[in-house]
């Protein structure tokens, strides 16, 4: 008889870094759009009301590591 093992609870961090200098840097440089959106969305990193910058939605996502063509 096949015995199915019960699923274990799983939690995975899906942010680029945990708290600390890395994350602070990311947040301080972030804007309402991912920087990759610049060619189209053309939005800047500043916000008009002086509020802290929004985190960057991953659109498009960061480029994966590895060589690129050319």
């Amino acid at each position: 008889m096949l015995r199915v093992e019960a699923e274990k609870p799983e939690i995975i961090l899906v942010s680029p870094s945990t708290t600390g200098s890395g994350n602070e840097k990311q947040t301080s440089q972030a804007g309402p759009c991912a920087p990759q959106c610049l060619p189209y969305c053309r939005i800047t990193i500043c916000r008009p009301d002086g509020a802290p910058p929004l985190p960057p939605p991953p659109w498009p996502p960061p480029r994966p590591p590895g060589p690129h063509r050319g």
Binding site: A6, E7, K8, P9, E10, I11, I12, L13, V14, S15, P16, T18, T19, N23, Q26, T27, A30, P32, C33, A34, P35, Q36, C37, L38, P39, Y40, C41, R42, I43, T44, C46, R47, P48, D49, A51, P52, L54, P55, P56, P57, P58, W59, P60, P61, P62, R63, P64, G66, P67, H68, R69, G70
Partner: protein, 407 residues
């Protein structure tokens, strides 16, 4: 198998600690720590332990150690407030005319456009009306905005009305030392498109021999003057072979944002299929292939109610039409002949602004829907449906899995 047709709706939000929200998806769930900025993915077992407050000491302790769960498990459904959204950013398309004829132009601009420009006083009216309703960010675009002779008068006007961010998005070919000085004196920013480190390829994309040299000269002048500059690279079939070298050149020139590259969007002349780069390039540069999310209180609450991208934004075309985005040209929500406030507060624009991920098919079942970005014009262009998931995302919330490479 769970599909968009048979899934059990799981779309609630729960507050599980101060500033920490659990968002249900069809298969999995996500925890948004809006204080630390982190997003976590949970499987079904973990979600059930939290929501059903099961006695799983070890796992709950792990969550509490991360600051994600109340000590007393005092979990409650999260209710989102529905504030009125105001105007935060405006694009002003000063002219439809451009001195270049880029292969992929979403606005289909060219030197042949014979569209009469709006008079300066109309643009001044738009700038003033925008300021009165709280807008403080503005970008001049076109066509090529430097073709519009009074652009610097308009920039000075915007400064006088308190705009804090004023940027010119230009191909750079019409810039010279005098114009750069005016840009510097007015405290403006500049964004420039560059397509290749190879002059032949750049000129092939722009349809104009010598454009590469002119753009590069402009970049040097701007750099010398210490004008804040951003450079964007749109990747298409014609320039894909030099993307790596182009980004490297931009970085070596000392510009921030040199990594800014995106795959051509199928809008305007960009709709031509022969512009799309190879699938592997599309995937590497233009597709969401893995979860990389951050959050904060403001963005979480905004994304619960409105669209992650075009909420708070409008573009005014060279004919005075008001649209929610330069790429969403068919969605005309008003005209500057009327008061700007009318269009901003009107139902057509507010309805578009409020296309949150909850209203988008498939995305509404995704646990990342309040941390993810969006591009409605792209989704509409590629699927014909304004409310469809963009094909440039590899996550399937109905299986809880990301596509493997090449699938």
């Amino acid at each position: 198998m769970t599909t968009p047709e048979n899934y059990v709706e799981r779309n609630k939000i729960y507050r599980i600690n101060e500033g920490v929200l659990l968002v249900e998806g069809v298969q999995r769930a996500a925890i948004y720590d809006t204080i630390k900025g982190n997003v976590y993915s949970l499987n079904q077992k973990a979600r059930d332990i939290v929501l059903e407050q099961r006695n799983d000491t070890g796992f709950c302790e792990e969550l509490r150690n991360l600051g994600l769960l109340f000590k007393d498990n005092n979990i409650a459904e999260f209710e989102v407030e529905t504030p009125n959204f105001g105007l935060e950013f405006v694009w002003l398309e000063l002219t439809s005319k451009c001195n270049l004829t880029c292969l992929h132009c979403y606005a289909e601009s060219s030197p042949k456009i014979d569209q009469e420009e709006l008079p300066t006083k109309i643009w001044e009216k738009v700038i003033e009306e925008g300021a009165k309703i709280g807008c403080r960010q503005l970008q001049f675009i076109g066509g090529e905005p430097l073709i519009f002779e009074q652009i610097f008068d308009l920039a000075a006007c915007a400064k006088s009305f308190g705009y804090q961010f004023i940027e010119i998005f230009t191909n750079g070919t019409l810039l010279n030392a005098d114009k750069v000085k005016r840009i510097k004196d007015l405290g403006l920013r500049v964004a420039v498109s560059l397509y290749s480190n190879d002059p032949v390829i750049h000129d092939l994309v722009t349809g104009s021999s010598g454009s590469f040299n002119k753009t590069m000269s402009a970049l040097r002048l701007l750099k010398e003057a210490e004008v804040p500059i951003r450079i964007g690279v749109v990747i298409m079939n014609q320039n894909q072979a030099t993307v790596g070298n182009t980004l490297e050149m931009i970085q070596k020139m000392g510009f921030d944002g040199g990594e800014s590259a995106d795959v051509v969007r199928t809008i305007g002349r960009g709709k031509k299929q022969n512009l799309l780069p190879d699938p592997e390039v599309c995937r590497n540069f233009g597709t969401m292939i893995q979860p990389v999310f951050v959050t904060d209180k403001n963005s979480f609450e905004r994304n619960c109610i409105g669209n992650p991208c075009w909420l708070g934004k409008i573009a005014v075309t060279a004919t005075g039409d008001i649209i929610p985005c330069v790429a969403g040209r068919q969605h005309i929500v008003g005209n500057v002949a009327e008061e700007l406030e009318e269009a901003v507060e009107g139902n057509p624009l507010q309805k578009l602004w409020r296309i949150s991920k909850d209203k988008i098919k498939v995305c509404s079942g995704c646990e990342y829907r309040y941390a993810c970005g969006d591009c409605r014009p792209l989704a509409e262009a590629e699927t014909g449906n304004l409310y469809s998931k963009t094909p440039r995302c590899d996550y399937d919330p109905f299986t809880g899995e990301w596509k493997k490479g090449g699938e």
